[in-house]
Amino acid sequence: MPVLRRIDAGSVSALRSQALWHGIAAAMGPEDPPVLSFCRPEEPYVCLGYHRRLAELDLDACAARGLPVLRRQIGGGPVYLDADQLFFQLTLPARRAPAHIGRLYERMLGPAAAALCRLGVPARLAHTNDIVAGGRKISGTGAGQIGDGVVVVANVMFAFAHEEMAAILSVPDQAMRDECLRLMRAHLGTLPRLDPDTVTAALTDAYADALGATVSDSALSDAELAAVRDWERRLDDPAWTAGPPLPASAGRQVKIRAGVWVYDRRGDGLAVQITVEDGRVVRAAITLADAGVDSAVLERALIGVAAEAGALAARLEEFGDDGVRVRDALAPGMVVR
């Protein structure tokens, strides 16, 4: 019968909580068994996806709170992580991972949703890679290929420090920070009635069932430990934290979960900020210099419109050049990351 190695690293430093799974993936060989790993950070920190700008964070706020900032080699935006979260990761040889991104998440995150269901949480996979329950996102996820290993990373939040998360974001004004906080409270869920040991056991059973494997509790091998230490050095390197060269961004977008985000764009006598929930504009604030149309009229016109470029363009068409200015300002914010 196939084996699922389980590595429970327990409570570890912020750096180790990221290096752990980077190293396991980097050390994975094409014939190796899958690894289900767990850890919890013993200290709070901030973590940023590979292709995200450090400028998305208020680094002064992070420093004032003593929060390390680490960049991970998977996707997604900036997140606040602490000991109230259980991290788990499934790592497979790349050749055994589904080629299609949607199938990959189904196979590698589906068991996590099943495990939570067994614990009484009505969890399901939604929007490719969110785990949701009761309309709220309850697990942050991401994935990547590191060396010959493909890893899917997720967490379970027993509590979440919404205020801290809102405070460490770099946003253009307090209104956007307040809106981010409101949306996080409304759309992120926690599982305070569960405990880490129970969740760990349920996840282990669910992944073993899904893979048709027997569980083998395991420590890091020498090769894995060496790779983890190598990744600790890399993740701690300021050059790595700075990230790869990225194109200039148009405006500021903060995504809370799929279908929910805030977008702000300023310049050329125009300031636009919109909030999107469940794919539709629910709030708009527009300041437009030298406009022929009252900004309040434009704001009202946007409410309820589907947040995609075509629908916004159609709705704004009747407002002539002013509508075109707002349409063009909003367009980059419709590409959601």
């Binding site: 996806g49 590979y50 996707g75 589904p98 991104i101 990547g144």
Partner: protein, 147 residues
Amino acid sequence: MLTVAGYTLDPALRYEPATNVWVADLGDGRVRVGLDPLGAETSGDIVAVSFAASGAALAAGEAMAIIEAAKFVGPLAAPVPGRLAAVNPAVIDAPGQINADPYGAWLAELDGVPADRLAALVGGEAAITAWFADAVARFRAEGAIAQ
């Protein structure tokens, strides 16, 4: 152009089957590379791409780019050995073009590519058709693409 299993393929190109990358021979050991339509489809909606350092000497299979789609970050392997001579700034600014126009949205150019390594890739109508039909059938069987 060829149509195989509903996908359009350019028979003038060569293909690296393991990574679904197309390779255009520009002459004098220089090639241009991009994702083929199957690679673009299975990747998901690409939201970011970054490249190895300009001028980097790459072995075949070494990451020439890092691509992100649906919060998945993965390497795109060089299909042949060579030096990273150019990257397409258009795909850095608008990575979604790789999905929308896989042949137009080229990714990078390599030079110093050995002729025998280029010749070893899948090329010619018959070979391309056979390889791609098999790849599509396999992906469909795995549920990786629609029937």
